[in-house]
């Protein structure tokens, strides 16, 4: 620090000499005044500083912490007596694990290099997963951030890797790849914050975000096969339910039909019976008035009607012993074939 000061003084003196030559001032006394004035001017400039809105300034006086200043214009002692350290406070800082962004933008480019050392880790069922993640953090205590830990970046990375492996190591590979992503990120965030607080690092972990989480390249296919098998399983179950849903309602309809038919049968039978019963009762009531004559009438009417039908009717006297026709009530077109017709009719 005093070295800087003497250098500075040399500079001032040179400038003073030049000024002396330029202005043609001959008197040594006057030159000394100019040098003194310039020194004061320099002191003035080096004691003014500004802090931007997103920053904080930490002032050390002779190496000892004096003050933390917020945004605005501030004064400090010149010539290195007070030293200013500026820290970006609101900026979210980011660390990438398992990959590197080479150029961020609308189409962000990633480096093609593999960072397997960082990303390959053992899972709880002793399998291997390839986990990429980012860590976002910001400074919450400029003093601690500057003076408690020497290599903040290296510490962050080491701790983040250690804790990610700790957390992933407690889960099965399939959980790590699928359902547990958010839980892992949350747990890592909490545990990292605990560690950073232990170190007094002065940073807040704002986010831990899992990026690509994959099986290692060589086993990727077999993982896909498991997924395909899961789909296949669902497909089969769906197919079965489809068949089920097709058949059951149809069968229910058919069952309804059977019952309806039975009910129809029942109605029909009962109606018919009712009708016939009513008819008989009516008939019977009339019949009772004159049973004998009605009976005879009905009989004769039916006989008349019925006996017209058969082509051959043989009327025999009870005394006749043989089966010879006594009278043929109907004319036969071909009498010769009568016995044959009789034989046919008898069947």
């Amino acid at each position: 620090m005093p070295n800087e000061f003497s250098e500075f003084k040399d500079d001032v003196r040179k400038v003073g000499d030049k000024l002396k030559n330029l202005s043609g001032v001959k008197s040594g006394g006057q030159a000394a005044i100019v040098v003194l004035a310039l020194l004061l001017l320099a002191a003035g400039f080096s004691s003014i500083y500004t802090i931007d809105p997103e920053e904080a300034g930490v002032i050390l006086r002779f190496g000892r912490y004096l003050d933390t200043t917020g945004p605005g214009l501030h004064f400090k002692l010149p010539f290195g007596i007070d030293k200013l350290y500026k820290v970006q406070l609101t900026t979210i800082r980011k660390e990438e694990f398992g990959f590197r962004t080479s150029q961020a933008g609308v189409v962000t480019r990633y480096e093609n290099a593999e960072y397997n050392d960082e990303s390959l880790m053992l899972t709880g069922d002793l399998n291997v997963a390839d986990v990429e993640w980012i860590l976002q953090y910001k400074v919450n205590d400029p003093y601690k951030f500057l003076f408690h830990v020497r290599n903040v970046n290296k510490n962050l990375r080491d701790v983040s890797e250690a804790i990610m492996r700790l957390v992933v190591g407690d889960r099965s590979v399939s959980d790590v790849l699928t359902t547990e992503r958010v839980a892992i990120a949350d747990q890592v965030k909490v545990k990292m914050q605990e560690t950073f607080d232990l170190y007094g690092m002065g940073v807040t972990v704002t986010n831990v975000i899992l990026q690509d989480v994959n099986p290692p390249e060589t086993v990727k296919d077999s993982f896909n096969e498991v997924n395909a098998a899961k789909q296949e399983q669902e497909k089969m179950v769906n197919e079965a339910w489809e068949a089920y849903n097709q058949a059951i309602p149809e069968e229910k309809g058919k069952a309804d039909q059977t019952i309806q038919v039975a009910e129809g049968y029942a109605l029909e039978r009962i109606n018919k019976a009712d009708g016939e019963a009513k008819r008989f009762r009516a008939l019977f009531r009339a019949y009772v008035q004159a049973p004998a004559v009605t009976r005879t009438r009905l009989y004769l009417e039916k006989m008349e009607e019925v006996l017209k039908r058969p082509k051959q009717v043989y009327i025999m006297d009870p005394a006749a012993k043989t089966l010879l026709p006594l009278l043929n009530l109907k004319e036969r077109p071909a009498p010769a074939s009568a016995p044959a017709a009789a034989a046919g009719g008898a069947q």
């Binding site: 050392d117 709880g124 190591g169 399983q233 059951i248 039975a262 029942a266 006297d317 009719g345």
Partner: protein, 309 residues
């Protein structure tokens, strides 16, 4: 000339000040060395301090938490699995005097830390099973997972200690040794554990076969579920059909019974008339064109053929 005098005086004062003082900053501490030997206690507090010019020089040491990152070590676990273990640690110089006397500087300290932490790591890891190093709890045994539902869970062992406990063991062992170097250990963490290259290949092969097995299980489970649903369907079909049949029979039976009662009620009073009527009516269907009738003159209808009486 008077002003020049002031300037020169100021310069001399400045040089004298510089020679008699030194500054320790918030992040470092200092030892005053006189003729190659440390004098007095280390200066830990940040600020402006005095020393004797020319004969005393100042050695600075860091006061912050420092990092240590060991080389990955190949260590066999208790179950003879070779893993690469990469341990990282935080430490700080807690006693600059002792530190200077024993290890001189950070490079020396790193060498000692390498010995101590690597050694303890080796001891602890080779005394435990691989799962104890990888896992931290038994949560995995109760986690819900559709693969575990297929019976995969059974294969996982219960652990007794877990990674954090082992790390603490390493830390405790190392932390007990390093104070003699003026060092305090802040934290030890297992940063990476990976299979050794040749083991890794075998692990990948195992993973592939394991995945295949799981895939097969999913498929056969799918087939099983399908068969189950289809079986259920057949059962349902038969149930629906038979229930409908039963109901239909019941309905018909009830109707038949009712019909029987109706007929009985109606025909019973005129039993003889019904018999006559029905018999006569039945001639309608029993006597057709193809019938051949042999009738006796004794019959009711033809008896007048013999005598009209």
């Amino acid at each position: 000339m008077k002003t020049w005098g002031i300037l020169i005086l100021a310069l001399v004062a400045l040089i004298a000040f510089k020679l008699c003082t030194f500054v320790t900053t918030e992040y470092n501490q200092a030892l005053i060395i006189q003729f190659g030997k440390p004098v007095g206690n280390p200066v830990v507090k940040a600020g402006l301090h005095f020393k004797t010019p020319f004969i005393q020089e100042v050695k600075y040491f860091d006061r912050r938490i420092l990092e240590w990152d060991g080389d990955p070590n190949q260590i066999p676990t208790k179950d003879k699995k070779y893993i690469l273990t990469d341990v990282t640690a935080r430490w700080r110089i807690s006693d600059a005097l002792k530190f200077y006397q024993t290890v001189r500087n950070e490079t020396g300290a790193h060498a000692r830390l390498d010995d101590v932490i690597d050694g303890d790591t080796r001891n602890v890891i080779s005394n435990h099973l691989l799962v104890e190093v990888v896992r931290n709890s038994n949560d995995i045994l109760t986690a819900e997972n559709d693969e575990f539902d297929l019976g995969e869970r059974i294969k996982l062992d219960t652990i007794q200690f877990g990674r954090e406990a082992l790390t603490k063991e390493i830390f405790a062992a190392a932390a007990a040794i390093v104070p003699q170097y003026g060092i305090t250990l802040v934290d030890v963490k297992i940063k990476r554990i990976n299979y050794e290259e040749s083991v890794q290949r075998k692990v990948f092969e195992r993973m592939i076969s394991e995945r295949k097995r799981i895939a097969e299980k999913f498929r056969s489970e799918g087939k099983g579920k399908k068969a189950e649903i289809l079986g259920k369907m057949t059962k349902e079909l038969r149930r629906i059909k038979s229930e409908a049949y039963r109901k239909a029979q019941e309905i018909q039976g009830v109707a038949d019974a009712k019909v029987t009662r109706i007929y009985a009620d109606a025909y019973n009073p005129g039993r003889d008339f019904y018999q006559f009527l029905k018999t006569v009516e039945s001639y309608d269907s029993t006597i057709t064109e193809d019938s051949v009738l042999f009738l006796s003159t004794d019959s009711e209808y033809f008896r007048y053929l013999r005598r009209a009486k």
